[in-house]
């Protein structure tokens, strides 16, 4: 099963740069997740001020520059993992958050090629 795990934060509040200790510990954690065969891909989001929203309604496009109105709900970094169960994804998120110290991580299942597609009724 594939899950997208992403951190949620407020990107109007600048985050202090991570300490070398935190960086090292995070490096070890990423290494562990890779060695456990669960990490498929990772990434980090650029600040939302650089983002764009494209709307389509009544046949008309509206393109707005970021940031979004609700800055507390923004995605910071993400990891795509392949694990045996949702409980396992939760356990990896806990391991990640324990290193970060505090924060919020959200987990959504992503359908991969191994998932049987919902049959049409």
């Amino acid at each position: 099963m594939r899950f997208l795990m992403y951190t949620i934060g407020d990107d109007s509040v600048p985050i202090p740069p991570p300490s070398p200790e935190l960086m090292a510990e995070m490096g070890r954690f990423m290494d562990e997740a890779t060695k456990a065969g669960v990490l498929l891909a990772t990434g980090a989001m650029a600040p939302s001020a650089q983002g764009v929203t494209v709307w389509f309604s009544d046949g008309k496009f509206t393109v707005t520059d970021g940031p979004y109105a609700e800055t507390k709900e923004l995605i910071g970094g993400w990891a795509l993992v392949q694990v045996a169960s949702k409980a396992e994804a939760i356990d990896w998120a806990k391991r990640f958050l324990r290193i970060v110290g505090r924060g919020e991580s959200r987990i959504r299942q992503v359908f991969g090629p191994e998932d049987v597609e919902p049959k049409r009724a």
């Binding site: 099963m1 290494d31 890779t34 456990a36 065969g37 694990v83 169960s85 090629p113 191994e114 049987v116």
Partner: protein, 431 residues
């Protein structure tokens, strides 16, 4: 957390930690069977205590410390038996390890490499040639994949007691044969590694052959095999064939959604909708293949098969396929790991690269091959090549024969349609 939630959380911890736990214990007690029993004891204690106390911050270290205490209890109980001195020596060793447990957190990083060595030893032991193939598969899924006996039984469509028996016997065989808990070296390593790779690929193919309506545990075997392969690739990064196998599995898995039609019929590679191929897995597969190629030396059988799969994966349309390269790769594969099935695939590649007559020449050399006597793909391929050459009467006879040999109803239908088209003097049935 509710009780079922805690239970699931503990199962998840087990999936992540069990292989490392068993591997670490096996190094200490030098018996894989005993190591697994101790790990299971620790799991039982966790299932009793964690719902009350909550899951500890470092569940892996907790399980290891608990299992080591159990090891000492067991040794004390057995101490009256024969090998007193040897057993006492082992106890002192474990006591020392326990005393060191306090420093474990600080040493975590340093120990990480040792854990890798232990895991590698565990993989080689579980796939030891002294065991039957079935036993190797069951033991690998159990010890390294963290699957329960019940899950293995469901995945392989066999009764649970059969799998349990297989595992018990395998552990006994390893103990009786005094298989050392080590990573083989030199010439032995190559042979033993191919046994490991064979087991992982077997697990993958068992999952890949699952069909609609099967228990979901069956296709999940593909994920289990991929995970084992990815773990092995990090444990033995200098082994090109490990990356070759991972590449092959990643690329094959990328086609899972495209290879079956809406009514469950198999869709052949060239007819698949390539938009449904999973690009993430293709990229991972190509990266793994690159790792294998960068290690230098001639490609092994898995890397060659991965290289062939990569030719298909790189082509955005079937017409873009580099058939000359595929034909050359099949040449190399036929040299390295000759088999009638490889020959048949080589013939198909030659027909695509150099025309149906070139392919037919190779196929004709296979018609007397006893192992292909009842293999429906031989007359099916031969029929296709004959039809392309306009030899419709011969082609029709081959399609009829292929239809009588296949066990898949939908495929039989397709073959009979092609036979009927040949009877009308056309290579392909009307669409």
């Amino acid at each position: 957390m509710t009780a079922p939630d805690t239970h699931r959380a503990i199962e998840a911890v087990w999936r992540i930690e069990s292989a490392k736990l068993i591997a670490g214990l096996a190094r200490i007690v030098r018996d894989v069977g005993l190591a697994e029993d101790l790990a299971q004891d620790a799991l039982v204690i966790a299932l009793e205590q964690w719902p009350e106390t909550g899951i500890p911050n470092n569940p892996g270290a907790w399980l290891m410390a608990t299992a080591k205490h159990r090891a000492i209890d067991r040794i004390r109980r057995n101490v009256a038996l024969e090998h007193k001195v040897e057993v006492l020596g082992r106890e002192i060793e474990i006591q020392q390890e326990l005393a060191e447990a306090d420093f474990e957190a600080a040493l975590d990083a340093a120990i990480a490499d040792d854990v890798g060595d232990d895991l590698l030893r565990l993989i080689f032991t579980a796939c030891h040639p002294v065991l039957s193939t079935e036993a190797r598969v069951a033991l690998t899924l159990r010890l390294l994949g963290g699957l329960t006996t019940e899950e293995i039984a469901r995945a392989f469509l066999v009764p649970e007691p059969t799998v349990a028996q297989r595992i018990v016997r395998a552990k006994r065989t390893l103990a009786e044969a005094r298989v050392p808990f080590e990573v083989p070296r030199g010439a032995e390593r190559t042979a033993r590694l191919s046994s490991v790779l064979e087991v992982i690929y077997l697990i993958f193919n068992e999952g890949y052959s699952a069909t609609a309506g099967d228990d979901w545990m069956r296709p999940a075997l593909c994920e289990d095999a991929l995970r084992l392969g990815r773990i092995l690739a990090e444990l033995a990064p200098q082994e090109a064939e490990v990356h070759g196998l991972v590449a092959l599995m990643e690329i094959q898995a990328s086609r899972m959604r495209a290879r079956v039609g809406p009514s469950g019929e198999p869709i052949l590679l060239l007819n698949q909708n390539r938009a449904r191929w999973d690009q993430l897995l293709i990229r991972r597969g190509l990266a793994a293949l690159e790792r294998a190629e960068k290690l230098g030396g001639a490609l092994g059988p898995y890397a060659l098969q991965a290289a062939i799969a990569a030719c298909h994966a790189r082509a955005r349309t079937p017409e873009e396929t580099d058939w000359a390269r595929i034909a050359a790769l099949y040449d190399a594969l036929a040299q390295l790991a000759p088999s009638p099935v490889v020959e048949l695939n080589r013939a198909v590649a030659f027909s695509m690269a150099y025309g149906p007559a070139a392919g037919l020449e190779l196929v004709d050399a296979l018609t007397s091959e006893p192992s292909l006597k009842n293999y429906h793909l031989l007359p099916s391929v031969r029929g296709d090549l004959l039809a392309k050459l306009g030899r419709f009467d011969e082609a029709r006879a081959e399609f009829d024969r292929a239809a009588s040999l296949t066990r898949n109803a939908r495929e039989r239908e397709l073959l009979l349609e092609r036979a009927a088209a040949c009877a009308r003097g056309s290579a392909l049935p009307p669409r």
